[in-house]
């Protein structure tokens, strides 16, 4: 670790992993509720479990992004963090706000939560993924602004690199687009329309910038390939991400009551959204193949390559599957969407955060890389989580295809719940894959505590001997 203040990231990463475990526990509960509807009812109803599952994901990814920025930016800017104290204060505020919100979801009915948080003064609750009480949303804005200020001041007063500037652009975009969560028009069409300004422009817009810059940073570190080469790729990737992603928002406007031209704009531009992800895969593999040195942290390299592949599959391929309007006419809001959502979030954002944690955690704990045994355990967890996520996606895709046929395509369409019953086998298999994912995650957490021999590369041994 070159700069003392980088260690702030550790707090954020620990919280991220903790919340990740919570998210997956609720995922397993939810998966079971798909086939045993009254499991844990009335303590944890399905809608509450779903809210906790998705909200925890968003919150822990935000913790991960913030931690990543606090780790990466001082090193890129070649100076200490503008204010490590501010970063620590914001951490505790964000953690407290996040924990209280989740407890609120679990302990009181949603309507009561709205009442006690005075949602009526500025009503923003009740929208999917943006269920947080208004007061929590205000907290998020304060934390995000303080965070962007802290990171921005560090970057602007230090060395400016393409990586840190792309990251900063992504983070500013993240903060700005979140502001749309405060705008809740009465008109239901407009409401959905602007809701996507947060949801889509985050995950298919500015988050891609954050992802690309984090990936580029780790790849420079583990491969030693010229910064100039990596930066060039980064420019092209982000340009493509924005060209396809911004107008690609249109693929959410097909059936919500917006004008018909969105069918065309949405189909054409979103069909191109796989391109930046494909470029990221090419980029990652080429850079690793052209590496100038072997880094002892094999696990981090594995995560980096895994991110590129899984993001392309989950976000790119599975997104493309149902993005064209004539296809989406039948598939929107089915398990096909759930399949895409799972693999895209895991492949692009979960994995990129785990990549930077994998790279930086050992360094913050005073080693260049985790010990040999810890790395083996970590790589096992990589394969368990990744392969089980592939199966979750495949089972949900199977469920989705059957659902589309039975409910929307056949000559004698069935009702929603009658169709759901027919999908039971797929849901059971998905739950099985989910349990394997949880085991993988437990292994992942264990890998931080495993003791073993330090990894010494041949070249280091030669250098030490000489």
């Amino acid at each position: 670790m070159k700069y003392e203040s980088q260690s702030v990231a550790m707090l954020y990463f620990i919280a991220a992993i903790g919340l990740f475990v919570g998210q997956i526990l609720f995922g397993v509960i939810l998966g079971l509720q798909y086939v045993m509807g009254d499991f844990l009812f009335p303590e944890i109803p399905f809608n509450v479990a779903r809210m906790v599952h998705t909200n925890l994901l968003i919150v822990w990814l935000l913790f991960g992004f913030m931690g990543a920025a606090y780790y990466l930016v001082p090193e890129e800017s070649e100076r200490e963090l503008f204010s490590p104290m501010l970063a620590k204060i914001m951490f505790w505020i964000f953690l407290a706000a996040g924990a209280l919100t989740i407890l609120g979801y679990l302990l009181v009915p949603y309507a009561t939560l709205a009442e006690i948080t005075m949602n009526d003064l500025l009503p923003t609750m009740g929208r999917e993924f943006l269920e947080q009480p208004t007061i929590t949303k205000i907290g998020i804005v304060i934390v995000a602004l303080a965070f962007v200020f802290n990171i921005g001041m560090t970057i602007l007063t230090g060395r400016k690199t393409v990586i840190s500037l792309v990251l900063l652009t992504g983070l500013v975009g993240l903060a700005v687009f979140f502001l749309f969560s405060f705008y809740v028009p009465d008109n239901l069409v407009l409401d959905k329309y602007f809701w996507w300004f947060v949801v889509h422009l985050w995950v298919e817009g500015v988050w891609e910038l954050i992802m690309a810059s984090l990936l580029a940073y780790v790849l420079i570190k583990v491969t030693g390939v010229d910064r100039e080469v990596i930066e060039k790729w980064l420019y092209i990737i982000i340009a493509m991400a924005l060209i396809s992603g911004i107008l690609g928002t249109g693929h959410h406007f097909f059936w919500i009551g917006t004008p018909g031209y969105w069918l065309w704009i949405g189909s054409i531009f979103s069909a191109l959204e796989p391109i930046p992800f494909f470029m990221m895969t090419l980029f990652a593999f080429n850079v690793v193949n052209k590496r100038r040195r072997d880094h002892p942290n094999k696990a981090a390299t594995l995560w980096a390559l895994g991110t590129a592949v899984m993001a392309f599959l989950g976000a790119g391929v599975w997104g493309f599957l149902h993005t064209l309007a004539p296809v989406n006419f039948y598939t929107h809001g089915t398990q096909i969407t759930a399949a895409h959502g799972h693999m895209a979030f895991y492949g692009a954002y979960v994995m990129v955060v785990l990549t930077i944690i994998s790279y930086s955690m050992p360094i913050m704990r005073g080693q260049k890389a985790g010990n040999a045994t810890a790395q083996i355990v970590e790589m096992w967890s990589f394969w368990l989580m990744t392969v089980s996520m592939v199966f979750i996606t495949l089972f949900l895709t199977g469920a989705g295809i059957l659902q589309v046929y039975l409910q929307r395509y056949s000559d004698t369409p069935m009702g929603f719940m009658a169709t759901q019953e027919k999908l039971e086998l797929f849901y059971w298999m998905r739950e099985g894959a989910g349990v394997i994912f949880l085991i993988g995650l437990i292994l992942y957490v264990t890998s931080f505590f495993v003791k073993g021999k330090e990894v010494v590369l041949l070249e280091d041994r030669v250098e030490a001997g000489a």
Binding site: E228, I230, I243, Y261, L282, K290
Partner: protein, 200 residues
């Protein structure tokens, strides 16, 4: 197609023959952009086949004279960019800068004429929702309009670097990169103009 090629390409001397002018990375971008426009043109063609009469009827409302003038402006801008590259190859930085600004002038002319055309259409109350023909006309030309702006930003950045003495006969890969992108913008218009304004 790999990082090594990008690397080698940037570092290769201008005397060596290269497969593509400019920085190799820009070609990823150019091909991706051409793919976007290609899909859009194909969609236009398919929908036109299904609505030939309607497309023919509303095509007549477009201002072909302005379109033709704009085509001339873009081709001229491309010619000026070529002159800029010739100039820098002779180490004539001054002329190079002059030609770059001349092409920027043509680009600005294009934007002005196009804005007049849009003003005309918008004052008639035409929007994306008027009909499928106008939907294609407006979205295709506006998307191209944005590319002209991006092309001009790139050329402007190149011109500024040239003014600061950043290019020479030996090292002018940046100008070639900007020029390649600009030619793409030009090429797209040369297909778009007949496709939307003329072909019946």
């Amino acid at each position: 197609m790999n990082a090594a090629i990008i690397n080698e390409n940037t570092e290769s001397s201008p005397d060596e023959p290269r497969l593509l002018p400019g920085d190799f990375a820009i070609w990823f971008f150019i091909f991706a952009e051409l793919l976007v426009f290609g899909i859009a043109f194909l969609s236009y063609a398919v929908v036109r086949v299904q609505n030939v009469e309607m497309f023919n009827q509303y095509q007549l409302t477009l201002n072909r004279e302005l379109g033709a003038a704009n085509t001339l402006l873009l081709i001229t801008a491309s010619y000026f960019v070529v002159r800029a590259i010739h100039a820098i190859r002779l180490d004539d930085v001054k002329s190079c800068i002059k030609w770059l600004y001349a092409s920027l002038g043509c680009g600005a002319g294009f934007l002005l004429l196009k804005s007049l055309e849009y003003y005309d259409k918008f004052s008639e109350g035409i929007t994306l929702s008027t009909n499928t023909f106008y939907m294609f006309y407006l979205s295709l030309t506006m998307f191209h309009f944005l590319h002209v702006i991006l092309g001009m930003i790139i050329l402007f950045a190149v011109a500024i670097k040239a003014q600061r003495g950043g290019y020479s006969a030996r090292d002018h890969i940046g100008i070639e990169t900007g020029a390649s992108y600009w030619h793409m913008v030009d090429l797209v218009w040369i297909i778009l103009f007949p496709l939307v304004y003329i072909i019946r």
